[in-house]
């Protein structure tokens, strides 16, 4: 069947009443967590992850993906109206978006951001649809040795683009790999770090770890910082941009789509990188760079589009390689794995309804989000006015219910609290916890690939260097290491002058 035929099937799946409802719920919840400072897509997805276990895999993934890209839309609302990024990827939107709002153009800024998000999101879905099937076919030729090398390369890419000093990121990755080994060994059934606790046989609960590291620690951080600003509230009439503003937004929106898509497809590159690149490009191309930072339309349209274009293409590494390149997609991976579905090259062959249903739902979700973020913006402004002393306990209670509902295991609540406290402390001292969580997810596949390859080769380590796939990944690995060393040396050289 052709891609178009599959896509039509996908629309049949996505347009079923149940999936349409789940898509709407995901978009609504995603926008809400995106709007609320301190809660990002990761926390929003982690909170509703347990609920997906009672759904079919397609419905579950449609809802979670809705939260993922919904949060990107919602984050821009807070950035524009409050001047505080609703989630990390909206930092750049604050610069010119909030300045526009202060000049009385809040409504126009919201529309430019929403239309840009829609265009960026749509372009990335088309790209995902065109590139993913071909890449998946190529990946089917990869053996266990190459898979282990691929996992190591993926972690290295994550480390290379992570925030913070490399030594801290490296430590977070190995800590994540170590945490991932807790439980019964898949090959020998030996107990690892279980100390007789059979409830740890399946390892530490990923949901508890994710909610603790991202949900609780983010919330504790927000409580410490506090939010005192009042949001600017635009009227419906103000939502229409002037002809000049609309014309100024066209070019940056198109360029932002391309930049966001390319950067999102690279494993490990976060939304923040693509938005900053887009901002830099627009400033460079602008005839009036001095207007950037003072409410330039291009400074809002470009990054906001890039942000949403990144979302769609960041699903490529997950769906094609089975690698969650950013923490939010790790939650999607966990949801699929809980249903016995392994994302990767075989996903399109074994579960085409999930892949194409997801793509079709993203088209629909993008439309829902334009509706949610423009005519209904007043609703989310009201949410921004809700005091933290009410929101915080409710979020924590949802976290506890979510973690407990997965397997009714009290130990998971303890894991969540410890992960929250540790995550808070690590973030406070400049450790990026995202690589830790990705390593927890990737560790198992890395170990399995490593041990299977060594079994096959009777202990010959050269198996990791054999075959075009392994050699390509190793070449990539070496290039990344060399780039890091060279940039590090250049930085030392510059600071020494």
């Amino acid at each position: 069947m052709s891609s178009l035929g599959h896509l039509l099937d996908g629309f049949v799946t996505a347009l079923s009443l149940k999936n349409l409802f789940l898509c709407f719920v995901g978009c609504l919840w995603g926008t809400a967590v995106g709007v609320l400072p301190g809660l990002g897509p990761m926390a929003g997805m982690a909170l509703l992850l347990p609920l997906t276990f009672s759904l079919d895999p397609t419905g579950g993934i449609i809802m979670l993906a809705g939260i993922f890209y919904g949060a990107m839309y919602g984050g821009s609302t807070t950035s524009i109206l409050l001047g505080i990024p609703g989630e990390a990827a909206s930092i750049v939107t604050c610069i010119d978006g909030h300045k526009m709002a202060k000049k009385g153009r809040a409504g126009a800024a919201l529309t430019i951001a929403a239309v840009g998000s829609f265009v960026g999101g749509s372009v990335s879905i088309v790209g995902l649809m065109l590139f993913a099937p071909n890449l998946a076919e190529l990946m089917l030729t990869v053996g266990p040795g190459a898979e282990a090398v691929l996992m190591a390369t993926a972690l290295l890419v994550v480390a290379a683009v992570s925030n913070g000093p490399p030594v801290k990121t490296f430590t977070m990755i190995v800590l994540g790999l170590a945490i991932g080994t807790v439980g019964l060994d898949g090959q020998t059934a030996a107990q690892r770090f279980m100390f007789g606790h059979l409830e740890l046989a399946d390892g530490l609960s990923f949901v508890a770890l994710a909610i603790g590291l991202f949900g609780l620690s983010e919330l504790m951080n927000s409580l410490g910082e506090g939010i005192n600003e009042r949001p600017i509230t635009p009227t419906l009439r103000e939502l229409v941009p002037t002809r000049r503003e609309a014309a100024e937004a066209v070019g940056p929106t198109l360029r932002g789509s391309g930049i966001g898509f390319v950067f999102g497809a690279i494993p490990g590159v976060s939304h923040i990188v693509s938005t900053f690149v887009s901002y830099a490009v627009e400033k460079k191309l602008s005839k009036h760079p001095e207007q950037f930072g003072e409410g330039a339309v291009a400074g809002l349209a470009g990054p906001e589009t890039a942000n949403n274009a990144t979302t769609g293409s960041s699903l490529i590494p997950l769906l094609v390689l089975g690698i969650p390149a950013i923490p939010s997609t790790a939650i999607l991976l966990s949801a699929l794995q809980n249903h016995g579905v392994q994302p990767g090259p075989l996903l399109l062959v074994e579960h085409p309804e999930i892949f194409w249903g997801l793509i079709a739902s993203m088209y629909i979700g993008n439309l829902i989000l334009v509706f949610l973020n423009l005519p209904m913006v007043g609703l989310f402004v009201r949410l921004l006015r809700a005091p933290m002393y009410i929101l915080a306990p409710l979020v924590v209670l949802v976290c506890a219910i979510g973690v407990y509902s997965v397997r009714a295991e009290p130990l998971d609540l303890a894991v969540m609290v410890v992960a929250g406290a540790v995550g808070y402390l690590l973030r406070r001292f400049g450790y990026d916890v995202a690589p830790l969580l990705l390593a927890v997810v990737l560790g198992d596949r890395m170990e399995t690939g490593l041990r299977t390859a060594l079994n096959i080769s009777a202990g010959d380590y050269m198996i990791f260097f054999k075959g075009p796939a392994s050699q390509t990944f190793i070449a990539l690995f070496v290039i990344i290491v060399l780039v890091r060393i060279v940039t590090g040396l250049l930085r030392i050289g510059r600071s020494g002058k």
Binding site: P50, L51, S54, V167, K168, F170, T171, V174, L175, L177, A178, T181, D185, Q187, T188, A190, R192, F193, L216, L219, M220, N221, L223, G224, G226, P387, M388, Y389, I390, A392, P393, L394, V396, L397, V398, A400, I401, Y404, S405, A408, P410, L413, A414, M416, V417, G420, Y424, L425, L426, R428, F429, G430, Y431, G443, L450, R451, L454, N455, G459, Y461
Partner: protein
């Protein structure tokens, strides 16, 4: 331990703690069985990552030791965050024995009262309404399994 530190000291302490965790993990993993190169045992991979964790932790501590900046005062944990953490720990401890409705009510009520400095009556109303809403949403509508505590079971 003092509630105050500096970025440098914090980095060093966390680095050394991670290194200690790595040493302990290496020792435990070794006991699980390392196997051979042709047939790696259950402890081989955990031991390798724990050795790397030790090296990484020591690297973080060494980096902190060499650091000249980051000597300004910093708290290990913000007062409000610490307060919230204590209440979250209590929620986690009481969640199963007392059940979601009672533990949830106590938690929301306590946290709202102290974070927002509102009256006990208002805090109790917020606690009651939110627990009722969660019960309707999760138990009645979504059939999520919730604990109801020993006192309901009895």
């Amino acid at each position: 331990m003092s509630t105050h530190t500096t970025q440098r000291t914090g980095d060093a302490v966390i680095g050394l703690a991670l290194a200690a965790l790595g040493v302990w993990g290496t020792w435990v993993a070794k006991g699980t069985g390392l196997g051979t190169a042709a047939e790696p045992g259950a402890g081989m991979f955990p031991m390798a990552v724990c050795v790397l964790l030790t090296i990484g932790g020591l690297g973080c501590a060494w980096r902190a030791w060499r650091q000249t900046s980051g000597t300004e005062g910093k708290r290990w944990i913000d007062g409000t965050a610490l307060f919230a953490l204590v209440q979250i720990v209590m929620l986690a401890v009481l969640f199963v024995p007392l059940g979601m409705p009672l533990a949830g009510f106590m938690f929301v009520c306590g946290m709202t009262r102290t974070l927002g400095d509102v009256s006990w009556r208002r805090a109790a109303t917020i606690g009651f309404v939110s627990v009722l809403a969660f019960w309707l949403l999760f138990d009645v509508l979504l059939s999520v399994q919730l604990p109801y505590g020993w006192w309901v079971s009895a």
